[in-house]
Structure formats: structure tokens, C-alpha cells
Amino acid sequence: MLGKIWAVFQKDLLIELRTKDSLNAMLFFGIVVLVVFNFALESTRDTIRQAVPGVLWVAFVFSGTLGLNRMFASEKENSCLQGLLMVPMDRGIIYLGKTLAAAVFMLIAEGVIFVFSLVFFNLTVWAEIPYLILVFFIGTLGFTAVGTLLSAIAVNTRMREVLLPLILFPVVLPILVNAVEATGIILNTADYRALKLPLTIMTTFTIVFATLAYLLFDFVLED
């Protein structure tokens, strides 16, 4: 099973490396969001560190949504999804491989967006980086675990680009609220014991939703 998940992931990675369809759009959009906030928060330079967690996650989520929109749109071209569905294997494998690919693309975009945010907002965060990586990692897994399932649902509709954010954002709200809170704790208080609650909520949500999505995936793909 792991080999098949890896095969789906590798295929998406290979296509992305050749076309750069998703990553370019995700990076561009994320950086534009930072630029806009950089100007909008110009007058609050002294307290900008308090705004950064929210700004970062807005950029992550907007750019991540672009990537998720592409995740199944590329499978619709030439009816590739039909070819995948005909393979005699657990269809949840497609979900897991796609979620892995979406998470990796989003983490790459987040890394670049984060570096730009350090420059724009003039932040120094060396000591906090391991904690930030942990929060970004769990938050991204949760976001893509939900997003991959909803992207598979949205791709069969005519208004998929509009529909995905509409159904995705309300569902991932528990992940986003806690990711912003955890990032805020790391950047503003350094009281790492306080991370326990948001990280527990994010992890629980991710596990529950990924399990549900894995089980439901078969049903959302058929006509």
C-alpha cells in the first residue's frame, strides 16, 4: 500500500516539477498577500509581530487553496481520474497519495512565503524555527487532509474554483484558529507549554478528518 501511495505522490511531484503549474501560482499569490499586508500594517511596525501569525496563515491558506484546486483538475484532463479509478486497488490510496503531494507542495510554498515574511516584517526567529516548523507541518497536514477530499468533490462541479474555498474554509476553521494561536504563542510569548492545547486540537482534527476522508473517498469519486 505504501508503495502505491508513493507512486501517486511521485507522479504528481514529477508532473509538478515539469509544469510548475501549482507551485508558481501558489508562491506568487502568497507573496502578493504578504506585500499587501506589509503596506497595510506599515503604521503598526512596533506591534507587527502580533499580526504576523494571522498574516502568515492567510497567505498559506490562500496559496494552498490554489494548489488544491489544481490537485484534481489535472486528473480530469484526458480523464486520467477514470484510469486511476479502474485500477483494482483501495481508492483511499489515491486520497493518501494526493494528500501527501498537496501537503508537500504547500510546505514548500510556506517555506518560501515564510522567508519573505521575515524580510518584509523584519523578524528574527532563529530560536523559534523548530516550533514553527512543527505548527506549520501539523496545520498543513490538517488543511490538506480536508482540502484533498473537498477538492475531489468540487472538481466535478462547474464552479470548482469558487466552490472549493466556500466549502473548505468553514470546515478547516478549527485547524486555522489553532494554527494562528500556536504561531502567535511561538512568536509572541515563547511559553511553549501553552502550545499543548492548540497542537492537540489540530492533531486530533487531522487524524479524525483524514480517517473519515479516507473512508469516504470512494463514494465522492463516482458519478
Binding site: G83, M86, V87
Partner: protein, 231 residues
């Protein structure tokens, strides 16, 4: 063995199939004829498990369409090639071979690509292929796991003379190996030549079902024409 009883499929208020019955014994080759929109593709998609029936019972080798058991024996080829255009032919087949638990050895896959007439083009992105070349590769992809039931929806679309010959030979070989085949086709002489049984679907039901030996091609074409014209 394929068993279909009272099959219906509705898209909103439109009925693509209504009360369709057919039984296909192991090793039989069926040519499915019918006008555009008659329900051939919907029927094949339901057999392949890509679409859920609205009513009726369907069994493929005693398994429900879409189940892992049914997918193991089915090879489905439609006019959409299900190929990744940004991957090479070899990468496409290697990807499917890995999912199918087949040995994804380069030499073996290159041999399969050569057998469909694409020798020397295995490492080229599929995007550079013509429609006919893509269809040849789609044949190699769809039959990679040597399925016992072939569901073919206009499989000759885009194929040149050589490609058509290759597919005809493949189907003859499959017939000799007792495989079952349902093929939607518009070319009456070709469908007649390749099948044991001629079935016409019209407005979602089986309107004509004849053993090939019982009619000549001319008789069949006459009855098919009369049937489609009278409705």
C-alpha cells in the same frame, strides 16, 4: 460472465438507460451499436464501475461493478486516453504498473510500448504524440494487467491503418484466449467482423440482439438502419 437485469440510469429527468437486460457468457464478443446518445457509453461506464446505476442489478464475474474484484478482471478503454500528457509513455505505463502490482521493469514496458507501434518514442512526453499515437498507448495502458473482460468504447477512434490492424489482432488473440468483450462501435462492417453477437441499443434499451451467424452484414445493416430511422 456479465449479467444485467433491469438496468436504468437517470440524469435528472433524462433516462439514459431504462430497463436494459443482457447476459454475456464468458468468451463472447459483443459489438454494441446505436446512435449518439443511445446509451452505449453510459452502459459501458456502469459495467466498468465508473457510474452508479439508478436501478437494476449488474454483475461482472459475480462481482458488483466498481468492486475491487470486478476491477481486477476489467480492462476499460474509452475515447479519453487516461494518459498524463506531461509524462513520457514509459512513465505513464510504469506508474500504472506500480499501482497494479506488476513488475515495472523498463525493458518489459518498453517492449509493450513497441508492440503498440511506438518503438523509439517511449521516452517522449505524451503531449508530443498525435491522437492516434495516444490511442495506441492507451491500449497498452488499459490492457496492462491482461484483463479477462474488455470494455471498449469506440476503441478505433483516431487509429490509423496500422493501429487498427494492431487492435484487431489484439482482439482476435483475446478471443482465442476466451476473453469477454463488449465494444461500442459505429463502424458496422468492423463491428460485424470482430464480434459473435450484434446488439443495438436505442433510447436506453436493447432494441436488437442477434447472433452474428444468423445474419449477413447487409441484412444487419438494413435492420439497423430501419430500426434507427423508424424511431
Amino acid at each position: 460472465m456479465i449479467e444485467v437485469r433491469g438496468l436504468a440510469k437517470y440524469f435528472g429527468r433524462f433516462s439514459a438507460l431504462r430497463d436494459l437486460h443482457i447476459s454475456v457468457p464468458q468468451g463472447q464478443f459483443i459489438a454494441l451499436f446505436g446512435r449518439n446518445g443511445a446509451g452505449k457509453t453510459t452502459f459501458l461506464r456502469i459495467l466498468a464501475g465508473l457510474s452508479r446505476p439508478s436501478a437494476g442489478a449488474v454483475l461482472v464475474h459475480s462481482a458488483k461493478p466498481g468492486s475491487q474484484g470486478a476491477r481486477e478482471v476489467i480492462g476499460y478503454l474509452s475515447h479519453n486516453t487516461a494518459l498524463y500528457l506531461d509524462l513520457t509513455a514509459l512513465e505513464n505505463l510504469r506508474f500504472y504498473a506500480r499501482l497494479l502490482d506488476l513488475p515495472a521493469l523498463g525493458a518489459d514496458l518498453e517492449d509493450r510500448i513497441a508492440r503498440v507501434g511506438l518503438a523509439g518514442r517511449a521516452r517522449e512526453p505524451v503531449r508530443n504524440y498525435s491522437r492516434g499515437m495516444q490511442q495506441r498507448l492507451a491500449i497498452a495502458r488499459a490492457f496492462l494487467h491482461d484483463p479477462g473482460v474488455l470494455l471498449l468504447d469506440e476503441p478505433f477512434t483516431g487509429l490509423d491503418r496500422e493501429g487498427t490492424e494492431f487492435l484487431q489482432n489484439y482482439l482476435s488473440e483475446s478471443r482465442a484466449r476466451n476473453k469477454t468483450c463488449l465494444m461500442a462501435i459505429h463502424d458496422a462492417p468492423l463491428g460485424y467482423a470482430l464480434s459473435d453477437r450484434l446488439v443495438v441499443i436505442e433510447r436506453g434499451v436493447v432494441a436488437l440482439d442477434l447472433p452474428r451467424q444468423s445474419v449477413t452484414l447487409d441484412e444487419f445493416q438494413g435492420r439497423y438502419r430501419a430500426l434507427t430511422e423508424e424511431r
